[in-house]
């Protein structure tokens, strides 16, 4: 079975690409055929982290139809089993991808024959970021234990949730439902988001049911990066509890990654942290949380819910 994990976090510099590259290396070392896709279209740098400074192929080639299939843009990395679709030579306006092209990319990604596909999603909450979360129910959110980062990650989760509902409705219906919800409560209020599915169910029971099912299938994960000693180790757990309680989204906290000065060194030397410093706290944190995520996703696939991940594409 193919697993797609979009990895993002709203705020820049929280360690999204770092996590993707290290997860990728670890998964590949476990013998899983893994592909990393840099979908941070405007500011790609995943290739740098795996030390391929001049990738000869990139995602743009597929978008511009220089090549016919996405398969042709894949490059091998120095690690066995680990592959990359880089965004290094993207056009300068690549971050403003039009919708039809985006759908084409997303569809192509789901057809690639890899066990694990990690999407390095960029910062921000524009459509070009959050749409990559639409492809999978197993989004990973990275934050640091700082209010700025936490604020952005909450915002991102809400935007993704909002977008998930939106794409199930046509524009007119959606507009009127939003108006209705706006009358009931303010947009910044916590009840605003949870009210929307109920309103839809009221109006169109069938669509409501589909949306309810879709929201139930969501299984997000949260990672807290750059965790210092004086930070509360339960912070992530409590955040997930809040998201579950007030937004009704299932979200599991998979672990803290300890802050480590050597990460900076690894990035500077363009080597993978987990293979350069395997015996550090941070590296073992990464291994642990990766194993935890593997366990959760294997449980999910055993549970045998046959929901198609890409229902709407």
């Amino acid at each position: 079975m193919q697993h797609i994990w979009p990895i993002g976090g709203g705020k820049g510099g929280s360690g999204k690409s770092f996590l993707v590259s290290n997860l990728g290396v670890w998964l590949a070392m476990q013998g899983k055929k893994t592909l990393m896709v840099d979908v941070d279209l405007g500011a790609a740098n995943l290739h740098t982290l795996v030390n391929i400074p001049y990738p000869e192929k990139c995602l743009s080639d597929f978008i511009n139809k220089k090549v016919d299939t996405l398969d042709e843009t894949i490059i091998e990395t120095s690690t066995d089993n680990l592959y990359l679709i880089s965004g290094a030579n993207n056009n300068l306006d690549a971050s403003n991808l039009v919708y039809s092209q985006k759908i084409r990319v997303l569809r192509a990604i789901t057809k690639l024959p890899y066990e694990y596909i990690l999407l390095d999603v960029g910062a921000g909450t524009s459509f070009n970021t959050i749409d990559f979360y639409m492809i999978s129910d197993y989004g990973v959110f990275v934050s640091t234990p700082e209010p700025t980062s936490i604020e952005n990650v909450y915002r991102l989760i809400r935007s993704v949730y909002f977008r998930k509902i939106r794409q199930m409705l046509n524009q007119q219906d959606f507009k009127s439902i939003i108006e209705q919800a706006g009358v009931l409560c303010k947009e910044s209020s916590i009840d605003y988001l949870s009210a929307i599915p109920f309103l839809i169910k009221d109006r169109e029971p069938e669509t409501g049911k589909i949306i309810e099912l879709m929201l139930q299938n969501i299984q997000y994960r949260l990672v807290l990066n750059q965790h210092r000693k004086r930070d509360n180790p339960n912070l992530g757990f409590l955040m997930c509890k809040m998201v579950k309680k007030y937004l009704g989204i299932k979200m599991e906290f998979v672990g803290n990654i300890h802050f480590d000065e050597r990460i900076h060194d690894a990035v500077r030397k363009k080597v993978s942290f987990i293979s350069r410093y395997p015996y550090t706290q941070a590296a073992s944190d990464i291994r642990e949380l990766c194993n935890k995520m593997l366990l959760i996703s294997s449980q999910d696939s055993i549970a045998g819910d046959e929901h198609v991940q890409v229902h709407h594409l």
Binding site: E146, I150, Y154, S189, L238, Y246
Partner: protein
Amino acid sequence: MKPLEKQNYYEILEISPNATQFEIRSAYKTALYIYDNGSPVSYSFFSKDERKNILVLLEEAFLTLINDQTRSEYNRKLVEEGVLDEETLYGDDYKKPIPIIDLKRSKVSTSRKTTSGSIESGRESHHIMSKLLALDVITGSDLRKMRMLLGVPLEHIAEYTKVRINLLRCIEEDRFEELPSMFHLKSFLRSYIDYFKLDPGPFVDRYMKRIID
């Protein structure tokens, strides 16, 4: 999720209806960590007014439940509304003895004396109690039964004996292996029995008999 305003105080603090004072306190502390103004967990999650409402509700819940009198009044109200089942509320702890004659009603700090007074009267009046007292071998569950009959919460005994509550629970559930030593068991048991104004000697013997056999 039920909106916060419609939840009862137990649901707001996420505790069970027969939570101890300690549990209430720690639940309040956890909740404050999550919802307080400077908390990193809920930063930007709520609007200003929402946070204020939540904090007001939390404080109300805490202040009501931490005070025994207001708590029982509140419980009664919940039972009347049918939100709570009387069984779940009084099934275990918190069945306080009602003093028959309360002479020193106006004075404080007599709680201990009045309890033990009512314990003595309750002990004599109950015939199940006398059956228990006449038993040849006493088990932890007998002790528990006795305590329940007299309506004494374990917390009170813990307070009186200065023995940790989970150790007392071990005695009542016959989990001796979790106690530090036989000597401790004996001395804890002695002070436990002492609370009920009974002669500890024969009780301890009858309890220990089983273990030695």
